[in-house]
């Protein structure tokens, strides 16, 4: 009844091409942003901000990056952890060696380096696809893990191979309390999500999707696969690299290559699959699922006063996680984003479904 575009007339192309053409959607998004920017930092506990919202946002950003590659351009990658690591270590190296570079600059430079590495490892995609490509991106994962473990230069000759960031400031403001860190990450994520949304709606996004749907047909109608595939790798790696830098700088503060191992790559892939391939909002849903579920599964027995041994809880978590992934893929292979849009469709028809 409420969620319906009746009476909302567009009188210009501009108005018709908005990201959220329906007024109610815009209000909801504005409301969410208002809550995220104002209410959450003021009201949420430090634990919630630091241990749940911040990792959720950063993983969402990485998932958007991966989604551009896998969901929009159809190039399967299981090396996203590597690109996160490149972003993190490149940013850190700039910070250590040229401390004059401001924090945001360091993080973006991390993204730039991840882009370079991403494009290099994207070159095989011009010749091979599908599972074979997945395996070459896996090579990226192993290579990067090896490089950051063994090449002492990248860790500034730190004896243990562990690196950590000093107290952070951006634009003269401290980024140290959980709320400050959260807002800092949030700004990044909002800007990048908007950027991604506009990219995938634009000409380049359509080229990616054409390649995804059928590359031969796309080539026939004049899309250059080289350009489309490599830009997808570049943009995706940039996003993932920035997310990696944020994960290292803001969430962990101190890290080793293990923080970006194959498990991280698979986690991102699961986020994208569960959230919804080819959907920006799906990346957020997937990340929320991934971050919240373990925390919930650990805490829920406590709320009901059940004392569950931590190892049992951990094993149950793995089982439930696996089962839920299988369940979701059977019930809704297009992910949570598809469920969301079905829900919206139903609301638009309600109460007179036809």
């Amino acid at each position: 009844m409420i969620y319906r575009e009746n009476g909302q007339f567009k009188s210009s192309y501009r108005a018709d091409q908005q990201i959220f053409p329906i007024r109610q959607d815009r209000y909801v998004v504005l409301g969410v942003l208002l809550i995220a920017f104002v209410a959450a930092p003021l009201l949420a506990s430090n634990y919630f901000l630091q241990a749940i919202l911040t990792p959720f946002l950063i993983l969402s950003l990485a998932a958007i990056g991966l989604n551009i590659l896998v969901g929009y351009c159809g190039q399967i990658s299981i090396g996203s952890g590597a690109f996160m690591a490149v972003g993190a270590y490149a940013a850190w190296n700039f910070g250590v060696r040229i401390p004059e570079i401001p924090l945001v600059g360091q993080i973006l430079l991390g993204g730039v380096f991840a882009t370079l590495v991403g494009v290099v490892f994207g070159i095989p995609s011009l010749r091979i696809r599908g599972l074979y490509l997945a395996v070459t991106t896996l090579a990226a994962q192993f290579f990067v893990d090896w490089a950051f473990l063994r090449i002492a230069f990248f860790t500034n000759y730190s004896p243990s191979g562990n690196v950590s960031v000093p107290a952070l400031t951006a634009f003269g403001l401290p980024v140290q309390t959980p709320a400050q860190k959260y807002v800092f990450v949030l700004i990044f994520v909002v800007i990048f999500a908007l950027l991604a949304k506009n990219l995938v709606r634009g000409a380049i996004g359509r080229q990616w999707m054409a390649i995804r749907d059928m590359d031969v047909a796309a080539e026939v109608i004049g899309i250059r696969p080289v350009y489309a595939k490599l830009t997808a790798f570049a943009v995706s790696s940039f996003f993932i690299g920035v997310a990696g830098a944020l994960w290292a700088y803001i969430h962990l503060g101190s890290w080793e290559p293990l923080a970006f191992d194959l498990t991280r790559s698979l986690q991102l892939l699961f986020i994208v699959i569960i959230g919804g391939l080819g959907s920006i909002v799906g990346s957020f849903f997937g990340a929320a699922f991934m971050v919240l579920l373990p925390v919930l599964l650990t805490n829920v027995p406590h709320w009901f006063g059940l004392s569950l041994a931590v190892d049992t809880a951990s094993h149950i978590e793995h089982m439930v996680f696996g089962a839920l992934i299988v369940f979701f893929l059977i019930v809704e292979p297009h992910g949570l984003a598809r469920l969301w849009s079905i829900g919206k469709e139903k609301l638009r028809l309600w109460p007179f479904p036809h």
Partner: protein, 422 residues
Amino acid sequence: MLTMSTAALAAEEQYIPLLTYRTGSFAPLGIPWADGKLDYLALVNERDGGVNGVKLVYEECETAYATDRGVECYERMKGKGGGASGFDTQSTGITFALTDKAFVDGIPIETMGYGLSHSVNGSVFEWNFPLLGTYWTAADVMIQDIAKQVGQDKLKDQRIALVYHDSPYGKEPIALLQARAKAEGFKLDLYPVTAPGVEQKSTWLQVRKNRPDFILLWSAGIMTPTAIREAQAVGYPRDKIYGIWWAASESDVADLGAAAKGYKGITIHNSAEDGPVHEAVKAMHAKGKGAENGDKYVGSLAHTRGMMISMMQVEAIRTAQEKFGKGKHMTPEQVRWGFENLNLDEARLKELGFEGIMRPVKTSCSNHMGDDWARIVQWNGNKFEVVSDWYQSDKSFVDPLVKEMSAKYAAEKKITPRTCEG
């Protein structure tokens, strides 16, 4: 009114978070270790009614050795019960991540026998306590034992290999070993093994080729038995291998039996021995209290070490209470003071039931490790036997490194070191 009553209630309780890993590739070590920590806290509650009447409230959080899980646990637990009394992170990676946070939050980080070796310097690392020994002291003691075996004058002819878990944990001793190799002229080979360490074929082929005289093994979990089996496969004598204390617990060698016979390890203090505290824990288990598995791990090295960790934590709280008021809840800041002013002499250890298990230890503002003592144990096929005298690390190697690395850390993090009187 409501907040008043909760505050009053909290005053009689002391919250101790327990980060543990009972799952993942290090679980065989993590389970007895975690049980040991838990058992001692349960014992203090059960036998003594807490610390001067203050009941200990403790809770486990499973990290599976993953840094991000550990950070989540820390964030969830640090503020509970009027502030956590200290975190034993049970992981080098988590220690690194939490060290930075501890500076901001003001929570003590207790890392008995692991963690950051340079955090011994209390004037820079106000909140870190690598009690009883670090990887640098351990590596130093191993070299001393080797020198004793071959003769100090022959040390320069030796070829010593470090086979290590390729992570911050495994890399910690390298700085010290390089310093000693440079000073004493022995040859040092470094063999990294990728985590989790089940793939070591190429490493041991190199060992077979280069034939090092001794091997220092910085492994954990599944990596240790794999290494010993590989040593057997290439015919490398097991009694030339020295495992770090986390690679030298019964769970690492029990299944290997005779294949591991001769394998040497280092222990923090004398944790290979049993003491009255073990009897007390067994008595408690008989009443159905304490860790779920009961006596299964009591007396094993990892379990004893877990108990020692909890004991130091409890003694820090007790020491703090002596200054700030007995029978009261201690804030993290006060517990930190307790950690910094620990003084466990022979008599006190006897009271606690730890006689024969460890030697007296005293911490100070500038020395957050206290006294480091270590011994070598050897697996005889059935149990670990103490085979060496007490060793203490050579300060002329360890101290300059601590000074150099902690100064570097302070400069990187823009920390102004405190001035310490002691």
